[in-house]
């Protein structure tokens, strides 16, 4: 029963990922990771004996414990990678903010007047504000 539930979770995850990418809600880069997770889930559900024999090979007496440990380790790695990416994004955002500030001060000097906020400028499709 657990095996069936596991594979259902895997397949459901895969479907959700496809829909999210299709509707432009998920970056394909992250979709790849989640897709792999979904495939592993489905495979474990379909072939539960694999983990039992793997545990036996490693000398683990209680296979579910091995599954949980491996799962936790992978999650910790994923979270660490996410934090590394968050840090890189924070740096990029800060550099970008500084660059805009420097540019704006240059502009004010050359134009001799304060610049209007971005939402006033007629950039047409610049709907950046909508997306973070």
């Amino acid at each position: 029963m657990v095996a069936i539930i596991t594979s259902i979770i895997g397949i459901a995850t895969a479907i959700i990922i496809v829909v999210l990418i299709r509707r432009d809600h998920l970056h394909v880069r992250y979709g790849l990771w989640w897709m792999s997770a979904a495939i592993v889930f489905s495979l474990l559900g379909l072939f539960p004996a694999f983990f039992d024999s793997f545990a036996k090979y490693l000398g683990v007496s209680y296979p579910p414990m091995l599954a949980l440990t491996v799962g936790v380790v992978i999650l910790v790695i994923k979270i660490l990678v996410m934090d590394i990416e968050r840090s890189r994004n924070a740096i990029r955002l800060q550099r970008l903010t500084q660059r805009i500030a420097l540019l704006e001060s240059d502009l004010r000097e050359t134009q001799g007047k304060p610049r209007e906020a971005d939402n006033n400028s007629n950039h047409g499709e610049l709907d950046d504000a909508r997306h973070k």
């Binding site: 990418i21 299709r22 432009d24 970056h27 394909v28 880069r29 550099r95 047409g124």
Partner: protein, 241 residues
Amino acid sequence: MTTSTTNKPVLSLPHCIVIIPAFNESQDIAYVIGEIHKHSNFPVVVIDDASTDDTIIKAKQAGAVVVPLAVQLGAWGATQTGLRYALKNNYSYAITMDADGQHLAESLPILLQPIINKEADVTIGSCTERGSVLRKIAWSLMKKVSGLRLEDLTSGFRVYDRRAIRRLAAWQATLLEYQDVGVLAMLQASGIKIKDVEVEMLPRRHGMSRIFYSWTSVFYYMSYTLLLSFTKRGTTHHQPH
């Protein structure tokens, strides 16, 4: 469409701009810009993707407008910056070309012809002879999975009309990392007509491809593209070819 100055025909089309995304291309950028100026009267904008060499100086000296990116965005991110520049400055047509001299400025009239004749909204300069066996396998796999019926999906030598520029300047296109399957699927989903145009291409003069430089990047690129192709299947209407 063409006027004769000396003995060379100079191409002119109103409201048309050439966009060149460049990353560390100081060796070829001036030559590429010079060739464009020789064959057309189009303004050139170089989007510098945070180069560490003197690409910016070389491009400015060659007479291009340079838009320097504050952080590196990759080839598509840089190209999209150029398309946004074109949109903001009210250009009707945008031509994208590589900075490495692979794309020939003398092919511009052939590439623009279907646009001028209103046969297509977007043209892709395709050269199916280029590429190793491995690349060809990759391309046919991408075509099969995405259902896109175009010859050269990865070519960066393209012309976009105003509607295509507008579509690709939108935030949905910012989510993409490469300019091939995702961009083309998005255009076709909006009913924009894309046409292949066979052109000649040269091997890169210097440097190397930003995708095909290591096995891990090729692996990432292929997994990325195949997953994207698969998820975007059916969003495009197929065009008769």
